[in-house]
């Protein structure tokens, strides 16, 4: 992955507009957050292969970045994004890494299902 460049990521988001796309969305503070005294709570959530369609998708902020995807009946939102990758055709990976390089948040879009 490389540090996010909005000039590249914004057109990439646009390429998914008004299409059936597969979504991977997650945030985590690690399965051992409480055990290792890093946090009072272990929290995390993920969606793997949610199918969505959005008519507006924006990346904003000065880094870390935020992304909002506006759907007919709702929103997809992620905050703390730092890095991106577009190596696979029809797939955009966005992730937020902490100072230790650990993944804290991810938002990924794909025209084909993500591997299980």
């Amino acid at each position: 992955m490389n540090p996010i460049n909005k000039l590249i990521v914004q057109p990439a988001l646009n390429s998914f507009l008004n299409r059936e796309v597969y979504l991977h969305l997650e945030t985590t503070n690690g399965a051992y957050a409480v055990h290792s005294h890093e946090s009072a709570m272990t929290v995390g959530a993920y969606i793997r292969n949610g199918r969505i369609r959005f008519g507006r998708g924006i990346i904003t902020g000065d880094g870390p970045y935020r992304v909002g995807l506006k759907m007919e009946l709702g929103w997809v939102y992620a905050e703390g994004l730092t890095d991106f990758e577009m190596e696979q055709e029809g797939q955009l990976l966005l992730a937020g890494h902490d100072q230790e390089g650990r993944l804290a948040v991810a938002l990924e879009l794909s025209l084909t299902p993500f591997e299980l």
Binding site: T28, A31, H35, L93, G101, L103, F114
Partner: protein, 222 residues
């Protein structure tokens, strides 16, 4: 009974951090070791340091790391259950018990190492440990292997008492360290913090050197 060690853990690297030295000792003495690995650790948040994995490339990377670590430890046979990281506790437990029971009846292990259900912190650890114990309890008492249960929750010693199996693995510390290094996406961060002396907890260096000297287990009582 012919000796054969069966290891059941959900994530690539559980075998190394929790009991790599013990497994290396068994392998070195010629006892076959089979590892049932539940998932590919697809949802780990460690991506290497500096990070080199993505959420999408992580499973293949960890699968290759697992192979290298198993070579280092002398584990010759790995059975991958193909489950997904963080979802083990949501699967139908009866199906998992059936699958593990079939492997038990085929391999006929003399010893099984798994997580102590309820005392292994990560929900995947507790869930896979639980179905493994349930599968073993289906065997009649005479064919039932000994079970070394691995526990590390903060309350485990208070509730379970001190571990009854404490293995001195110092003769295998280099082997275990090689296996830890093989799991590079998961271990680079902690190895860097230790070598640079920048650890958050003063106890980290101690607990890490302890990791290379001793491994403790509770014999599970059926």
């Amino acid at each position: 009974m012919e000796q054969h060690v069966l290891v059941v853990f959900p994530h690539p690297d559980d075998e190394t951090f929790g009991c790599g030295g013990t497994l290396a000792l068994f392998a070195k003495s010629g006892i076959p070791v089979t590892y049932i690995c539940g998932t590919l650790g697809q949802m780990g948040r460690n991506m290497g340091k500096p990070f080199f994995a993505t959420r999408e490339s992580l499973p293949n990377i960890r699968e290759a790391e697992l192979e290298e670590a198993c070579q280092a430890l002398g584990i010759q046979n790995v059975i991958k259950l193909g489950l997904r990281d963080k979802t083990v506790e949501f699967e139908d437990p009866e199906l998992l018990v059936d699958r593990i029971e079939r492997i038990l009846r085929e391999i006929r292990p003399s010893l099984v190492l798994t997580h102590y259900p309820g005392y292994a912190v990560h929900p995947d650890h507790n869930a896979l440990g639980d179905v493994t114990i349930r599968a073993i309890s289906r065997l009649n008492a005479l064919e039932r292997p000994i079970v070394y249960a691995h526990a590390f929750s903060r309350d485990c010693q208070d509730v379970l008492g001190p571990p009854d199996i404490v293995n001195d693995i110092s003769s295998m510390s280099e082997v275990k360290l090689a296996a830890i290094r093989a799991h590079r996406s998961q271990s680079q961060g902690i190895l860097e913090r230790i070598s640079s002396g920048k650890f958050k907890e003063q106890s980290l260096e101690n607990s890490f050197s302890h990791l290379l000297e001793n491994e403790s287990f509770w014999t599970y009582r059926f």
